[in-house]
């Protein structure tokens, strides 16, 4: 089903040769094939089945320090020929930029390690349907659940990345994901919650009953929320959303934000940004990892990086272009982080909940209220009140606000880290944020 390396290599080589013929001094190209099959269910009935078969070519040509790109989904050589010509024409008249270049040869990935990222198992749609029936059966046991939706997606990918310095490599990856959304109702008011699993290998997928049960339990627990008074209070971030703090850090320490001067962490390298108990790691070489990769989107070798060590910011995320601007070598982070995580804290989840008399426990945020330039943060939120270590009642229609610089310095981590996504964090407490409610 998925096209092999030879087929993709042939197209990549064709693009490089033709670009050079037309006057390119350097060329980078990526050729991708992906096949995806999705089945979705609603209220125990088949709702949608979707099959996708897609090709893509991304080509960048350089003439000395001038650069331009094209993307296309049509791999026919007649189409590529026309597009390459267009790309070269645009390159010729694009102003040059001294930082434009392919990555340094000695930084390129030399060998591919099998990171166990491809499971060739095909899960036929009939099996997906059986799986989803079980998900929804479990999700709809309680009569307070009035609507369920569930989906299963299987994805297979193959790619080749190549450049005119001789780099030509790629590998297959796979992904299986399943989700359930449950809607609960009481006295005419509804709440919605979800659960999902995403894995490289089919055998590692959560049990369907578990997915359905978690989604339903969470939706029921949210019923009858209260709006609380505005106050300053410690806010605990559930594991589902605590990883958002790491995504913010990743944006703020990307070489582009640092070089452009648009990060609240500019000039903070080697300074204390988090409490000294905190370590943050980005490791691309985790077997079966959802964020794992052998090399970055430019073909540069990637290895594990300690971004934050004992609270001190140690590394930026560097690609070739902004690396040159900052006079730093690429550390294989073109395309961003890989498997990013906080090392575990010391407190158990229970001890964290009991560390003060009262907390706000947040399970969901909405809106895009983080500003990477100033560090200001303000988002809509819902969750629960915690009193004497127990979740007492659901809370919604409130906001939480602060500034990342201060929030980072007031983090306490629990010890319940799980590697479930590509970015992972344990439950975490941020001491004192402003909550706006009534």
């Amino acid at each position: 089903m998925i096209r092999d390396q030879e087929f993709l290599k042939d197209i990549a080589s064709y693009c490089i040769e033709n670009s050079k013929k037309l006057g390119a001094t350097d060329v980078g190209v990526k050729v991708i094939h992906s096949v995806s099959e999705n089945v979705s269910f609603r209220n125990k009935k088949l709702d949608e089945s979707n099959r996708a078969d897609s090709f893509a070519v991304n080509l960048t040509t350089y003439i000395e320090k001038k650069k331009s790109s094209i993307n296309s989904s049509d791999l026919s050589k007649s189409n590529l020929e026309k597009l390459i010509e267009r790309c070269i024409d645009a390159t010729k008249i694009t102003p040059s930029d001294e930082n434009n270049s392919l990555p340094d040869k000695d930084l390129m990935s030399k060998e591919i390690r099998d990171l166990n990222l491809y499971d060739e198992t095909h899960y036929p749609n009939d099996k997906k349907i059986e799986f989803l029936k079980k998900v929804e059966e479990t999700a709809s046991t309680d009569e307070k659940i009035v609507n369920t939706e569930a989906g299963f997606t299987e994805n297979k990918n193959n790619f080749i990345l190549a450049n005119s310095n001789g780099f030509l490599d790629g590998y297959k990856t796979s992904n299986f994901s399943s989700s359930c959304v449950a809607v609960s109702r009481i006295n005419g008011a509804m709440e919605r919650d979800y659960e999902f699993g995403s894995t490289r290998f089919l055998e590692d997928m959560m049990e369907p009953e578990e997915i359905g049960k978690i989604a339903a339990d969470k939706a029921i627990k949210k019923l009858g929320p209260k709006k609380i008074k505005s106050e300053r209070i410690g806010v605990i971030f559930d594991k589902r959303i605590s990883k958002g703090i790491l995504s913010t850090l990743a944006s703020a320490i990307s070489a582009s934000a640092i070089a452009r001067g648009t990060s609240f962490l500019k000039d903070q390298i080697n300074s204390e940004v988090f409490p000294n108990s905190i370590n943050i790691i980005d490791d691309p070489k985790i077997e079966k990892g959802l964020g794992s990769q052998n090399f970055d989107s430019e073909g540069v070798e990637t290895n594990s990086l300690k971004l934050v060590e004992n609270g001190i910011l140690k590394n930026y995320l560097i690609d070739t272009y902004y690396g040159k601007k900052l006079k730093l070598k690429s550390n294989g982070r073109s395309g961003g982080t890989t498997n990013l995580y906080f090392e575990n804290g010391t407190l158990s989840f229970k001890d964290l909940l009991n560390s003060e008399k009262k907390f706000l426990y947040i399970t969901e945020t909405i809106g895009h209220g983080g500003n990477i330039i100033t560090g200001d943060y303000s988002v809509g939120a819902s969750g629960f009140m915690v009193e004497d270590g127990e979740l007492t009642y659901p809370v919604s229609e409130i906001t939480i606000a602060g500034n990342f610089k201060e929030m980072f310095k007031n983090i306490t981590l629990a010890n319940d880290l799980e590697m479930k996504y590509s970015t992972n964090a344990p439950t975490l407490l941020i001491n004192q944020m402003t909550v706006a409610g009534k």
Partner: protein
């Protein structure tokens, strides 16, 4: 005749035969073909950061029976690929039997010209204009820390082949021009962003130096924000300015009135048809027929001509927005709201240009009636949970109001409210309805589509402002 089969091993009549054969036991469906060209040219940090041209073509083959949608898409337009898709659709629906609904309204209206904006302005002149933007903004002094400007242009041709050999076609231009500036003063940095666009050529938005107005507006917003103080936290009165702040309407009301969520009864509005959902004097429409607007469409992505759909009239809920599937299942007609991001995506009922119409009050009257509150002029993005009805949006330009007077600017804060009740809190509707500048993209189920919004100034009695100052 279709132009999509020109360089393939299949001709129009063979494709039509496959469509008719595949859909013979289905309620609805079509073969949707799309050719999409787009470009992005970005100036950043004094340099042309990137210039990219995208060329994408493919088909999405859909069969619908009852509530079930079978979909298969590919960028390989060939006999074998279409056959494979056809088998896939038939296999999914093998146990179902439907009756094809041939009825689809016709239109002679056109709301935009068939131009290709990418080709109608030379690459050189786009690069030159971006450089002029950079020079113009940087000439405003050393306070200017960073300038980003970009062109986004596209041309999309679509053809819809239905079971009875009907072919419906549309050609859609779309452009957007954005400027973002970062200012730095006394160690404090703030951003201002502004943009314009719609379904015309770039020059229609940039001629006679009007690109300078875009730059000036971005600069003005950043400058205002440099003086901003921490925003208040808690419930208070909120005056919204006209135009773009109507994304409040889009988030709070619009999504909840899309047909799919109401058929599935997952929208907080599903049981409220014919009921009072807003203050008297509040009328909201979703209009796909405005000339050259970003959210306008001659036909939707199922081939239905668009229309001006009244959603709420004088406070009473009148209509949902429908695509063909949800309309059929709810016993009503499509409102021409069936949209998809591309051939890779299934059709969903979506908004076009969502507008609250003018009332009779002036903005001054609203502000002078507020003792303590905020005046919000511009927003970033928003989001809604359609089930609980809770929605948010982020201010990018706002001021405090004290004793009926506009005070200091305040830092960006999130506002949160409850969709079904917020319109009942609208106490005054202004006489100054304005369209947004043509920059909106709406996301739903992972699909982004261009949309517009419009509203007059409005006074909301009570909303929660998510600042840091108690």
């Amino acid at each position: 005749m279709s132009k999509f089969f020109k360089e393939t091993d299949i001709d129009t009549s063979q494709a039509e035969a496959i469509v008719t054969e595949t859909l013979k036991n289905c309620d609805d469906g079509e073969l949707y073909l799309e050719n999409h060209k787009s470009e992005s040219i970005v100036l950043d940090d004094n340099k042309i950061k990137s210039s990219t041209y995208n060329s994408d073509q493919g088909y999405g083959f859909r069969a619908v029976t009852g509530e079930v949608v079978a979909y298969s898409h590919s960028n390989d337009i060939s006999k074998e690929s279409l056959r494979k898709s056809s088998d896939n659709l038939k296999d999914t629906l093998k146990s179902k039997k439907g009756t094809y609904n041939h009825e689809i309204p016709k239109t002679n209206s056109k709301y935009y010209e068939n131009i290709n904006p990418i080709e109608s302005k030379t690459f050189d002149s786009k690069i030159d204009l971006l450089k002029s933007v950079n020079n113009y903004l940087r000439s405003k002094g050393s306070i200017v820390n960073q300038v980003t400007a970009n062109f986004l242009g596209e041309h999309k041709s679509i053809e819809i082949i239905r079971s009875d050999n009907q072919i419906l076609k549309d050609d859609r231009p779309l452009v957007r021009f954005n400027v973002s500036v970062v200012l730095e003063k006394d160690g404090k940095k703030e951003t201002g962003v502004y943009g314009v666009g719609g379904r015309q050529s770039y020059d229609d938005y940039l001629k006679d130096g009007s690109w300078k107005d875009v730059c000036n507006e971005a600069f003005r917003i950043a400058n205002v924000n440099l003086e901003s103080k921490p925003a208040p936290a808690g419930e208070m009165k909120v005056v919204l300015g006209p135009g773009w702040p109507a994304i409040l309407i889009h988030e709070a009301i619009g999504h909840g009135l899309e047909g799919d969520f109401n058929r599935k009864k997952t929208s907080a509005f599903h049981s409220l048809m014919g009921q009072q959902v807003a203050s008297e004097g509040v009328t909201i429409v979703d209009d796909g027929t405005l000339h050259q607007r970003r959210g306008s469409l001659t036909i939707d992505d199922e081939g239905t001509p668009t229309e001006n759909t009244v959603l709420i009239e004088n406070g009473i809920l009148k209509n949902y927005m429908q695509d063909r599937l949800n309309a059929r299942l709810m016993g009503t007609k499509s409102t021409g709201s069936g949209r998809r991001e591309s051939y890779k995506h299934v059709v969903l009922p979506r908004m076009r240009n969502t507008m609250m119409l003018s009332g009779k009050y002036s903005q001054d009257e609203m502000i002078s009636s507020v003792d303590k509150g905020i005046f919000a002029v511009s927003f970033g993005g928003g989001q809604v949970d359609i089930t609980s009805g809770k929605f948010v949006f982020n201010c990018t330009e706002a001021y405090e109001i004290n004793n009926g007077k506009i005070g200091s600017p305040i830092k960006g804060a999130t506002l949160i409210g409850d969709g079904p009740s917020i319109l009942k809190e609208v106490s005054l509707v202004g006489n100054d309805m304005k369209l947004d500048p043509g920059i909106g993209t709406c996301g739903k189920a992972g699909q982004g589509v261009p949309v517009g919004v419009a509203q007059p100034s409005i006074l909301i009695n009570k909303m929660t402002v998510g600042g840091t100052k108690l």
